[in-house]
């Protein structure tokens, strides 16, 4: 049962609804959820930066290892070293934050360059760009990451760097698609005809006005993926290394005790991953519907 109702008898000078009003409530809920997650991330980042942690993240209580949530003095329990889980969960954000931004920057920068070269300048570079992106696409990215990390350093910056490079083809395809779509609409050509400089067309018209929401969505989805990939690497031993906490290595260290029935120390960070990644997914979906107007009409 769907309800449609006209609010006014005459809609004078279309009271154009704000973006919030015209977006589906569910999408708003997604975005709100995503934003709450994002806010929590930012809060956690600030907390970590200023050291407002509920507990010393490095203090070990060797007699209280792998305690479940609610253990005395430990709201979310402790890890395999008897360290409190909560401040470490918060601290993770700090470890992820800058590298995550770097990953997005690398992906967008590289993908943008590829996309613009092949989409905007077309013929000249397309072959080369296609070749490069095909090479990147041919790698199973976990294997590539494993190689790079095993070879150089199991450092989150390296992980995010590889992730950025391997995500670039996707971004490039997106931008290329957008450009060719705009080209079909003669929009780019008319801008050239009007004497607008290339740089302005590319950056303002294409990237800023037409790709920004795509890129934001891509970035949110990508952040989720980054967290999951880091955790996969952690399982293989090449994720972020102690003493820097990462959700991946927290889950991994806890999972060693999972089969013995000690579920909590891995489940708590795993839940953190789940809620955050889900938040990114839903934020992506909601933003997509909101900004790209993907509602049925």
């Amino acid at each position: 049962m769907t309800q449609y109702a006209q609010t006014q008898t005459t809609v004078s000078e279309y009271s154009e609804l704000s973006i919030l009003q015209r977006t589906d409530k569910r999408d708003i809920a997604y975005v709100v959820y995503g934003i709450v997650i994002l806010l929590m991330v930012v809060c956690a980042y600030l907390m970590a930066i200023f050291g407002w942690l509920p507990h010393d993240p490095e203090e070990m209580q060797l007699e209280l290892m792998l305690a479940g949530p609610g253990a005395p003095g430990h709201l979310l329990g402790t890890d395999f070293m008897g360290r409190d889980t909560l401040p470490r969960l918060i601290l993770v954000i700090k470890a992820y934050f800058v590298p995550g931004l770097m990953y997005i920057a690398v992906a967008i920068l590289l993908g943008g360059i590829f996309g613009i070269l092949s989409g905007y300048y077309g013929n000249k570079y397309e072959t080369v760009v296609t070749y490069i992106t095909n090479i990147i696409d041919s790698f199973p990215r976990l294997i590539l990451m494993l190689l790079v990390v095993a070879a150089f350093k199991p450092d989150i910056y390296y992980i995010m760097m590889v992730l950025g490079v391997t995500n670039a083809p996707l971004v490039s395809q997106l931008i290329k698609g957008k450009i060719s779509m705009l080209r079909q609409k003669n929009f780019v050509e008319s801008a050239i005809a009007l004497g607008i400089p290339d740089a302005r067309i590319i950056f303002k018209h294409i990237l800023w006005f037409n790709c920004r929401s795509y890129l934001i969505i891509q970035a949110t989805l990508g952040m989720g993926e980054a967290i999951l990939l880091e955790s996969a690497l952690s399982y293989l031993g090449f994720g972020v290394q102690e003493p820097t906490p990462s959700w991946g290595n927290m889950v991994q260290q806890g999972a060693n005790y999972l089969l013995q029935g000690q579920l909590w120390s891995s489940t708590i960070p795993a839940m953190a991953i789940m809620f955050t990644v889900l938040g990114f997914y839903l934020l992506g979906d909601g933003l997509n519907n909101m900004l790209e107007g993907k509602r049925q009409s």
Partner: protein, 323 residues
């Protein structure tokens, strides 16, 4: 401008793509080699494990193993061998690499494609439901399910599944461990886990949902409805065959990546585990071979997908001429 439709474009296209694939694989091998070479540690690691060797010893060993000291020397000799159909021998086990890899690649192949199939089996109905009915209550539950499966770390959910399984059935769902021949669950559980956890379900659902609703608003689908004939039959190619094949082709690298983890946990003898081992050993013939084989699988899948695209999409056979 117009060419009568025949097998020619497809054949031409395939020839060109295979030719490109060849160069692509060379490129891939160069990248891997560069990464490997610039990494600390050397090929002798595979032979000597934890031992510490002096410089003189290591030089002598390298000479005896026939390994050049320079990167281009090593790469070149590898390449020359490759063109003679020889992938070299594993530094660690001394076995011909190709034989070992293909033996295990078969297992990984079953695992990945099985998982792919499984996740499509889950994602497709959800995507169709969402596209046709929108996000009603059931649709929402289905969507959240699809998203949640992709939002948890694969290894953790695998552990959880094993934990539950062992407590319910009092046996370990791992074929290798329990006996000579695997039973159905032992075969299928890793496949299911990889299918669920490799993160492709959510993306497939998202992509297919949008694709299906887009195609169903196409003019020609409306025409089909106006003709009173089966709409699905008309929309099938563009709404399902093409996006599904695209999805398979583009997600194969992800699933292979996930296979590394599933292979470790479920003790599945595949190339993922081998790659992990070889990466640590700097066993470069093995790594090169594995990356080439996986890149080839990825590439061939995408080639297959593109060929399928050219076959099912008559426009494409024209486009391939220009692009």
């Amino acid at each position: 401008m117009m060419v009568s439709r025949s097998a020619k474009p497809v054949v031409l296209y395939l020839t060109r793509e295979l030719y490109v694939t060849f160069f692509l694989l060379i490129g891939v091998s160069l990248v891997v080699f560069a990464v490997l070479y610039s990494a600390p540690g050397d090929p002798l690691a595979a032979v000597f494990g934890g031992q510490v060797l002096s410089d003189a010893q290591r030089e002598e060993m390298m000479r005896n193993l026939g390994i050049s000291n320079t990167w281009y020397g090593q790469y070149w000799s590898w390449l020359v061998k490759l063109f003679n159909g020889d992938f070299g021998t594993s530094l660690r086990s001394g076995q011909p690499v190709l034989g070992e890899v293909t033996k295990l690649a078969k297992n990984t192949f079953y695992l990945t494609f099985g998982a792919m199939f499984f996740s499509l089996m889950i994602a497709l109905p959800i995507a169709i439901y969402l596209a046709k009915r929108g996000t009603d209550r059931l649709g929402w539950v289905l969507m959240m399910f699809a998203y949640t499966t992709s939002a948890v770390p694969l290894f953790w959910s695998a552990y959880i599944v094993i934990y539950i399984y062992t407590r319910f059935f009092n046996t370990l769902p791992i074929g290798l461990a329990t006996g000579e021949s695997m039973n159905f669950t032992q075969m299928m559980l890793p496949v299911f886990m990889l299918g669920l956890g490799s993160g492709i379900i959510s993306e497939t659902v998202r992509f297919l949902r949008d694709e299906i609703s887009r195609v169903f608003s196409e003019d020609y689908v409306r025409t089909a409805r106006a003709k009173g004939v089966s709409v699905w039959k008309h929309a099938l190619t563009e709404a399902l065959i093409i996006p599904v094949s695209e999805m398979i082709a583009s997600k194969i690298p992800f699933v292979i990546g996930g296979a590394i983890i599933v292979e470790q946990i479920f003790n599945w003898p595949g190339i993922g585990r081998m790659a992990w081992q070889a990466a640590q050993d700097r066993d470069y013939p093995v790594i090169m071979c594995i990356t080439l084989v996986t890149a080839l699988i990825v590439r061939l899948t995408s080639l297959l997908q593109k060929t399928l695209y050219v076959i099912v999409n008559p426009r494409a056979s024209q486009e391939t001429k220009t692009s």
